[in-house]
Amino acid sequence: MRALKAFFRSPPAIIGLLLVLAVVAMGLAAPLLYPNDPLGLAGRPLQWPGANPRFPLGTDPSGRDIAAQLFHGARISLLIGFVATSIAVVIGIGIGAVAGFYGGAADTVLMRLTEAFQTLPNFLLLLVLVAVFGSTMEVVTVAIGLVSWPPVARLTRAEFLSLRTREFVYAARIQGLPDWHLIFREVLPNALPPVIVYASVVMAVAILLESSLAFLQLSDPNVPSWGNLIGLGRSVLRTEWYVSAIPGVAILLAILGVSLLGQGLNDALNPRLAPR
C-alpha cells in the first residue's frame, strides 16, 4: 500500500502508466476501429495527414492507411516486447538462480556463457539469428528474447548470492527441504522484485530491437510493425517525411512510457534508492 501511494505521488510514474495504458488501449481498439487488413490497399498513395478526412494520418507509399497500421502496430510491438521480455526473464532467472545458488563450477561455467553473450554485440547476434532462422514473427520474438537475458541473469545471480546465506534459507535447509524448494519457495520470491522492475528496461530494449530490425526490412514483412513503416517511408523521405515521422513518435512514446513506469515502480519499491 505504501509503495502504491509512493507510486501515485510521482508525476513521471503516472505519465508512464498513462502512456503504457494508451498503447495497450490502441492495441485493443485496433480490430474494432480498423477491422480491415491494415496492410491492405485503402486509397490513393501518399496523401498528407489531414488532406483526406478518411485518413487522418495520411496514407503510405503503397496507399495503406497509416492510422490503421499505427493501431495494429501497437499490438505487434506490445506482443513482441512482452513475449521476448518473458523469454529473457525466464532464461535470465534460470541461469542466474543456478549460478548464484550453487556457486563453484556451475557458477563459473554459466557466468562464462553470460560473458560470451555480453561480449557479442546484441544487435549483431540478432542479425545472425535472423539470417539463420528466417524472419518470421516467431523467430524474431524468440531471437530478441535470446539476446536480452544476460543482464537479468547477472542481477538474479547477485540477489541469490546475497540471499542464500540468510537465516531463513539456512532454517529451511536444516529442515531437510530439497534444493528446488529452497530456490523457488525461499530465495526466488525475495529476489524477484528488482528483477521484475528491471524487466521494464528489457521490454524497452526489446521494442527498440524489433523496430530496428523491422526498419531494416529484416523482420516479418507480413505484420504491420511501426519500424517497418518507418523503413518504407525512407524512399519518400525528402518530400513525404510524415510517413516515417508518425510511427517514430509512437515508438518514442511507447518506450518512454515503459521506462517511466519501470522507474516509478523502482522508486516506489526501493524508497532508499529513490533520487534525492
Partner: protein, 325 residues
C-alpha cells in the same frame, strides 16, 4: 606495470569467452538453410548440380562439421577469416576496408556522448531538483526513448533536405578528388549527423549516470572537508568530485561497447556509411555467412580490446584498484 599486468590478466580471462563465442556461432551457422554456394548460384542465375558440387569442394563445404570447425578455428589463429564469395576477396580484406569508418564513427559518437553527458550531468547535479535539472533530466529521458534510426531520418529531413547544412549520407564526396585537409574536413562534415544519431542514446545514459554519481560523491565526507577548507565550489567539483564521479561512466563505456557496435549497424545503414555495421547488414541480405561470421569475430575482438583499454583507464583514475589487488 602492475596496471598492465592486471589488465593483461583480465584480457587472458576473455580468451575462453572468445572461443565459446566462435564455437557457438559456427555451430549456429550450420543450421542455416542454404550456404554460400546456393547464394552464389542464385546470383549467377542458376546452374547444374555438378557445378554446385565443384564449388562446394572449392570452398571446403563438403567436409564434416567437426573437421570444418577445427579448420575454422585453426585459420582464425592466423587471422585468416576465409573468402567472401559475394565480394570476391578474402573476408579479412573486406572487413579491414570497412573498419576505419566504423572506428571513426564510434570514437566520435563516444566522445560526443561522454563529453556532453558529463557536462549535462554535472549541470543537473549542481542544480538538483531546480529547473535546469528538470529540463536536463527530461531531455535525457526523451533521448533515451528515441529510436536512433528515426532520429537519423528526421535529422536528414531537417539538416540535409531543408536547411542543407550537412550531407544526407556517404563518407566523403566521391568524384571531387579531395586530399589532405580538405578531405578530412569533408569526412568530418559527413560524420556530424551520424555521430549525433549514434551518440544520442549514450548521451542520455551517461548524463543520467553522471548526475546520480555526482550526487553520491557530493555527499561524501571528503567533499565536506574540501568545503570546510574554504575551496570554491568550482574547484571542489573539478579537483575533487569529478574524478571520483567519472568512474561509473568509465565502467559503462566498456559495458556498452557492444551495444554501440550494434547501433552502428542501423546508423551506418541510414547514412550509407561504408562501415562494418553496414557490411553486416549487407551480408545478412546477401546470405554471405562467411563475412557475417568474420564481422562477429572482429566485433568480439573489438569489444574485448575496448574493455582492455577501459581497465587501463580505470586503474589510472582509481589507484586503489591496483594496490588493492
Amino acid at each position: 606495470m602492475r596496471v598492465l599486468a592486471l589488465a593483461g590478466r583480465r584480457l587472458a580471462a576473455s580468451l575462453p569467452t572468445l572461443v565459446l563465442i566462435l564455437v557457438g556461432l559456427f555451430l549456429l551457422l550450420q543450421l542455416a538453410p542454404g550456404d554460400t554456394v546456393d547464394a552464389l548460384m542464385a546470383q549467377m542465375g542458376g546452374g547444374d548440380a555438378a557445378l554446385a558440387e565443384d564449388l562446394r569442394r572449392f570452398y571446403g563445404l563438403d567436409l564434416s562439421i567437426a573437421a570444418r570447425l577445427g579448420q575454422y578455428l585453426l585459420r582464425l589463429v592466423t587471422l585468416d577469416l576465409g573468402f567472401s564469395a559475394i565480394y570476391g576477396k578474402p573476408v579479412a580484406t573486406v572487413i579491414l576496408e570497412r573498419l576505419p569508418a566504423t572506428l571513426l564513427l564510434m570514437a566520435a559518437a563516444l566522445s560526443f556522448a561522454f563529453f556532453f553527458g558529463l557536462v549535462l550531468g554535472v549541470l543537473a547535479a549542481r542544480r538538483v531538483n531546480r529547473w535546469p535539472d528538470t529540463l536536463i533530466s527530461t531531455l535525457g529521458l526523451i533521448f533515451y526513448a528515441t529510436p536512433s534510426f528515426w532520429f537519423g531520418l528526421m535529422a536528414i529531413v531537417l539538416f540535409s533536405v531543408h536547411l542543407q547544412w550537412f550531407p544526407a549520407g556517404g563518407f566523403y564526396e566521391i568524384g571531387e578528388g579531395l586530399t589532405g585537409l580538405a578531405l578530412t574536413l569533408d569526412i568530418a562534415r559527413h560524420l556530424v549527423l551520424p555521430t549525433l544519431t549514434l551518440g544520442l542514446i549514450f548521451l542520455a545514459i551517461y548524463l543520467r549516470i553522471m548526475r546520480a554519481s555526482m550526487l553520491e560523491v557530493l555527499s561524501l565526507d571528503f567533499v565536506r572537508t574540501a568545503r570546510a577548507k574554504g575551496l570554491t565550489e568550482t574547484r571542489i567539483v573539478t579537483r575533487h568530485v569529478l574524478r571520483n564521479a567519472m568512474l561509473p561512466m568509465i565502467t559503462l563505456i566498456g559495458l556498452q561497447a557492444g551495444t554501440m557496435l550494434g547501433g552502428s549497424v542501423v546508423v551506418e545503414t541510414v547514412f550509407a556509411l561504408p562501415g562494418l555495421g553496414r557490411l553486416a547488414y549487407e551480408s545478412v541480405v546477401q546470405r554471405d555467412l562467411n563475412t557475417l561470421l568474420g564481422i562477429v569475430f572482429v566485433s568480439a575482438l573489438l569489444v574485448i580490446a575496448i574493455n582492455f583499454l577501459v581497465d587501463l583507464l580505470y586503474a589510472k583514475l582509481d589507484p586503489r584498484i591496483v594496490s588493492g589487488g
